[in-house]
């Protein structure tokens, strides 16, 4: 199990409706609209991950997560519920606006009964054995890639920009991604990932999204890794936005206490 994170945020590619949707945009501007969407001040939700291997065997991970934006820092805390052998494990991440400052991350392991600081350096690690890396689940800054609009086409009945993004860092784990962004809604409806050798690796499919309190939330997504013949389905349920999560939710005290 991997504990680092910056997880979830299936909200990743959601966005706010934009009055200037029809103007001619560059690839960078499209991706900035996806990145800069308003997600509210706080959110709590249940996250279920279903891992499906090539034989069709399923494994299920369940997490309860809380997120709050404190301005210069965004704090997240996750409590692992299933599988049973990781129950009561918790994970906390503080992500800073300062681009020069790495995330701070801690994990509480109930068997050890202590909170351990861990490095946030390995964003290429897969989260809890899923097909999502920590970086896939985080909010990659548009400036980290160069973007180009390849074409405009319909996908699932939606008008989309098709954006090719190439990382500026040549050592990044992907050589290229291609994203289908819905015009006007600014949701990344589909995203293809190509590995370091340029070979097609996996595709993210947005299977369901909802408008909750005026914010677009991706509530069901699937990552299909064609090289490993492995899939991960992520579902968000019981999503609550702007409920006033107290600041002390994001502390060592709560990591140890768990969901009590």
């Amino acid at each position: 199990m991997k504990y680092k994170v910056s997880i979830f945020l299936l909200i990743l590619m959601a966005f706010a409706l934009n009055a200037f949707a029809q103007e001619k945009l560059s690839g960078l501007q499209v991706m900035e609209k996806v990145y800069n969407r308003d997600t509210g001040n706080d959110m709590e939700a249940n996250l279920t991950m279903t891992l499906i291997n090539s034989s069709g065997d399923r494994r299920v991970r369940e997490i309860k997560q809380f997120l709050r934006d404190f301005g210069k820092v965004e704090k997240r805390i996750m409590f692992f519920i299933k599988p049973a052998d990781v129950r009561n494990t918790s994970f906390m991440n503080w992500s800073y606006d300062d681009p020069n400052k790495d995330d701070d991350q801690w994990i509480y392991l109930p068997a050890l009964k202590k909170v351990k600081r861990i490095s946030s350096d390995s964003k290429g690690d897969y989260f809890m054995g899923s097909d999502f890396t920590y970086d896939d689940l985080g909010d990659r800054k548009p400036g980290d890639d160069t973007h180009k609009i390849l074409r405009e086409e319909k996908l699932s009945g939606e008008d989309c920009y098709v954006i090719e993004s190439i990382p500026r860092d040549e050592d990044y784990m992907y050589s290229k991604t291609v994203t289908w962004v819905i015009k006007g809604k600014w949701i990344g409806l589909k995203k293809e990932f190509y590995d370091e050798d340029g070979d097609y690796l996996k595709t993210l499919h947005i299977e369901e999204y909802q408008n909750i309190k005026g914010f677009w939330i991706l509530t069901r997504v699937k990552m299909d890794n064609v090289q490993k013949k492995h899939q991960t389905i992520m579902e968000l349920t019981n999503v609550k936005i702007n409920v006033g999560i107290p600041a002390n939710k994001f502390t060592e005290r709560m990591m140890k206490r768990g969901l009590k």
Binding site: M1, K2, L51, N53, R59, V60, V73, K82, P83, A84, D85, R87, W94, Y96, K101, D102, D104, W106, P110, A111, L112, K113, K114, V115, K116, R117, I118, S119, S120, D121, S122, D125, Y126, M128, G129, S130, K228, H230, N248, T251, E252, R253, R257, K260
Partner: protein, 413 residues
């Protein structure tokens, strides 16, 4: 057996009645180990049932953690690892009852982590939550932002639990010219207010560094072996040693220390240290009363965690230094030890390889622990491992004949 059965029936009946509100978690496990030397005896065949019963309501909660070890040759062992009540206030949490209390930033080494005594029935081979004994205590935590003040009061002292006589994990006794008589009459610390233990800790978790500062007024969990030699002086020119009596006795210790953890680029740097005042060491000085001397000592550690090519690596260097040292003390002035951990996941984290070792520089001895864990299904894990001891003396070398391979099969619920 009857008591255990009755206990479990009551527990499960209560659990059944309250099942709608109670949280019941735990595991069942089979643990089988065989020695690599000699006649390949089984070092352990153990079946374990571990249950966590928990419930919380608003500001209060409780947890009871009964466990049963069933051995193929030694019957049953039943215990309560923890049994406590929680009360939550706005800025204060109280925990009352039998509980495990873990401090410090070190992994697998006990420096400031001295509140809960250790169960060394199987040396250091058990999982850490099984090595830690719960202690009946009152713990109060006061929170200000990301800072915590913690006070612990332990009314009754609990010593380290060593492997019983006859066990392959029984620590070696010092050698004597005659077979000593062990007199346990001074070993028990009487349960009284004066004999209680108290610990305090201030800790903070910040964006730059996490740290703890602690102090304790405690008993030494390990008994000092006071040695009384009986001499026959009928021939004053040539007194004859006629007997030796060893009195295990616990002494007071005063401890102050701290620990920290921070990130430096891709590394996590950890440190921990403590000053122990009033430790008794065995001495060969003929003038030393009962062959012991009282000295202070320091114990400290520096550790580094790093990830390389998906391998999670962790190393620690640990040193113990006896102050005001003299050569008669039966331990080295400096004791140096290191630990190393490497672990990696495969197959979407269903397969894990792990390698852990302790190395004792003074005795050139080590404990090496490779293992492979595979999740056959969610909540069902199979582990194959080995414990290899090298060297001939010291903490690890003394168990050089106990190399073993083992399996653990565990179902968690």
């Amino acid at each position: 057996m009857k008591n255990i059965t009755s206990f479990m029936v009551i527990l499960l009946t209560v659990a059944g009645l309250q099942a709608q509100e109670l949280s019941l978690t735990g595991y069942a496990r089979n643990y089988t180990g065989v020695l690599l030397q000699g006649d390949h005896e089984f070092s352990i065949i153990q079946n374990t049932f571990n249950l966590n019963v928990e419930q919380s309501k608003d500001k209060v909660a409780f947890k009871v953690n009964p466990y049963i070890y069933q051995y193929s040759n030694q019957g049953l062992e039943l215990g309560l690892r923890e049994a406590y009540l929680d009360v939550y206030f706005n800025s204060i949490d109280l925990r009352i009852g039998k509980q495990q209390i873990i401090w410090g930033k070190a992994d697998g080494v006990f420096i400031t982590d001295i509140v809960s005594p250790k169960d060394l029935s199987e040396f250091l081979l058990r999982d850490f939550d099984e090595i830690r004994m719960g202690i009946t205590s009152l713990k109060a935590d006061y929170y200000i932002g990301d800072n915590t003040f913690e006070l612990v009061w332990i009314p009754t002292f609990t010593p380290t639990k060593f492997a019983p006589e006859g066990s392959i994990w029984r620590p070696a006794m010092p050698s004597f010219p005659l077979q000593p008589v062990i007199d346990h009459s001074k070993e028990t610390v009487k349960s009284s207010l004066e004999n209680s233990e108290a610990f305090a800790k201030f800790s903070a978790l910040t964006e730059y560094v996490d740290f703890e500062i602690m102090a304790g007024y405690a008993w030494d969990d390990d008994p000092t072996m006071h040695v009384v030699k009986h001499m026959d002086f009928s021939n004053p020119r040539q007194p004859v040693l006629t007997g030796i009596t060893v009195f295990p006795e616990h002494h007071r210790l005063t401890i102050g220390g701290g620990s920290f953890s921070t990130t430096v680029g891709p590394f996590v740097l950890r440190g921990e240290g403590a000053y122990y005042q009033g430790k008794y060491f065995n001495s060969t000085d003929p003038m030393a009363k009962e062959s012991v001397v009282k000295k202070d000592y320091m114990h400290y550690l520096l550790g580094l965690d790093y990830t390389l090519a998906d391998w999670h690596l962790s190393g620690q260097f640990i040193q113990q230094a006896i102050l005001d040292y003299n050569e008669s003390i039966d331990k080295d002035r400096y004791s140096n030890m290191a630990t190393f951990l490497a672990t990696k996941d495969y197959l979407n984290e269903t397969l894990n390889l792990s390698f852990f070792m302790y190395y004792d520089f003074n005795n050139k001895a080590s404990l090496v622990r490779p293992k492979i864990t595979y999740d056959l299904a969610d909540d069902f894990e199979v582990l194959l491992g080995a414990n290899i001891f090298t060297g001939t003396s010291g903490m690890f070398g003394q168990f050089n004949d106990n190399d073993m391979v083992y399996t653990q099969i565990r179902y968690s619920f």
